[in-house]
Amino acid sequence: MHDHDQAPGHGHEHGQDPPSELALRVKALETLLVEKGLVDPAALDAIIDTYAHKVGPRNGARVVARSWVDPDYRARLLKDATAAITELGYTGRQGEHMIAVENTTDVHNLVVCTLCSCYPWPVLGLPPTWYKSSPYRSRAVIDPRGVLAEFGLTLPADTEIRVWDSTAEVRYLVIPQRPAGTEHLDEDALTALVNRDSMIGVALAGEPT
């Protein structure tokens, strides 16, 4: 339609064209903070290593898979998600107050943060760009079905959609439905079926990732 049709909000994040001016500003700030003794560069490396290799959606997948095979665990997860997730060792920053919401044949859950980009880091890691983008944040609450369609997911009109807008420090984890025909799989195998997007609610579980 327009001669300005670049997807907005993604300007500096698709990485095709590294914004050297930004990289320089960041480098200068880091140098300053290190020289003043405000940060330890080794601590920065350790933080990055944590989210690059230790904290990510495999954690959440473990929670979901466990809930699929262990009805008692599922009950605990739905009653007190923070405690049930802590059982598996996934605690901390941006996951201090967890709630698990379960998809059923009648109900589909979708998580968003319209005001910023709140996300359950201990179980899902750092959020993807689209989750943090204006298009998703703006439309998830007013047009969840249109948003899901953009992810290739079309739900029946009589499926109830519950959108969770993370306006406080409570963080939401969607428990997707266990895919049909997976009765023979054990917890480890099921974990591979729980993709990140299914725990945000923009996809179903089932695609091994």
Binding site: A7, P8, G9, G11, H12, E13, P18, L22, A23, V26, A28, L29, E30, L32, L33, E35, L38, V39, D40, A42, A43, L44, D45, A46, I47, I48, T50, Y51, A52, T91, R93, Q94, E96, H97, T114, L115, P122, G125, L126, P128, T129, P135, Y136, R137, S138, R139, A140, V141, I142, P144, E150, T159, E160, I161, V163, W164, T167, A168, E169, V202
Partner: protein
């Protein structure tokens, strides 16, 4: 504040365009901004509500143009300068004004512990419980110029109390150095039709976590 960051319900901001092969960081500088923000945060000179407010205070046209970590960068500079940890002159020059060197509070070997510990927002204090579960409430029509976590799209709308989350730090004061003033936080369900009108799907709903100060009896 009624900033562009409060974008729930807006149209015209583009396609979502998920990238299935997206890397965790698109450039090294993004990861450094994340790490610096967390590491300088360990000085305890500001709280999460202040850092959110620093980012949402970026002027609207810039806010919509910038990517996520660029907003974090701008917010971080704002915070460290406001806290007096660095001066604007130092940021501009990239050099410390003098030779004094502090000792970072977050050492590398404490990072895993600090991330795993987090910082709960609940406070173990007595607080009124003005609304029982199941109560019908109206989100107040508040339009503060400062920080708030009551989105515009819910203001004036009627919902039902679904959950009592306990007593949580109140962002509207905490973001402005006016104290945590912990208050009761509720999970509130609004029907899509109440929020968006009769054309919305009659089964759908949106659930927000709202402090009692945002609510009034319907």
């Amino acid at each position: 504040m009624n900033g562009v960051h409060d974008m729930g319900g807006m149209h015209g901001l583009g396609a979502i365009a998920p990238d299935p092969n997206e890397p965790l960081f698109h450039a090294d500088w993004e990861s450094r901004v994340l790490a610096m923000t967390l590491a300088v945060g360990a000085w305890g000179r500001w709280n999460i509500d202040m850092s959110r407010h620093a980012r949402e205070s970026i002027p609207g046209p810039d806010y919509l143009r910038m990517g996520y970590y660029e907003k974090w960068l701008v917010g971080l500079v704002e915070l460290v300068v406001a806290a007096g940890l660095v001066t604007e002159r130092e940021v501009a020059s990239g050099r410390p004004a003098d030779g004094s060197r502090l000792s970072p509070p977050l050492a590398a070997d404490r990072v895993a512990f600090a991330i795993a510990a987090g910082g709960p927002a609940t406070r173990d204090v007595d607080a009124p419980r003005p609304f029982p579960i199941g109560e019908t409430v109206r989100a107040r029509n508040l339009n503060p110029t400062g920080h708030t976590r009551l989105p515009r799209y819910a203001r004036g709308r009627v919902g039902v109390i679904e959950r009592d989350h306990g007593v949580h730090v109140f962002p509207d004061t905490n973001a402005h150095g006016l104290g945590e003033q912990p208050r009761r936080l509720y999970g509130v369900r609004f029907t899509a039709r109440e929020l968006w009108g009769e054309d919305a799907n009659g089964r759908d709903s949106v659930h927000l976590d709202l402090w009692d100060a945002y609510l009034e009896p319907a």
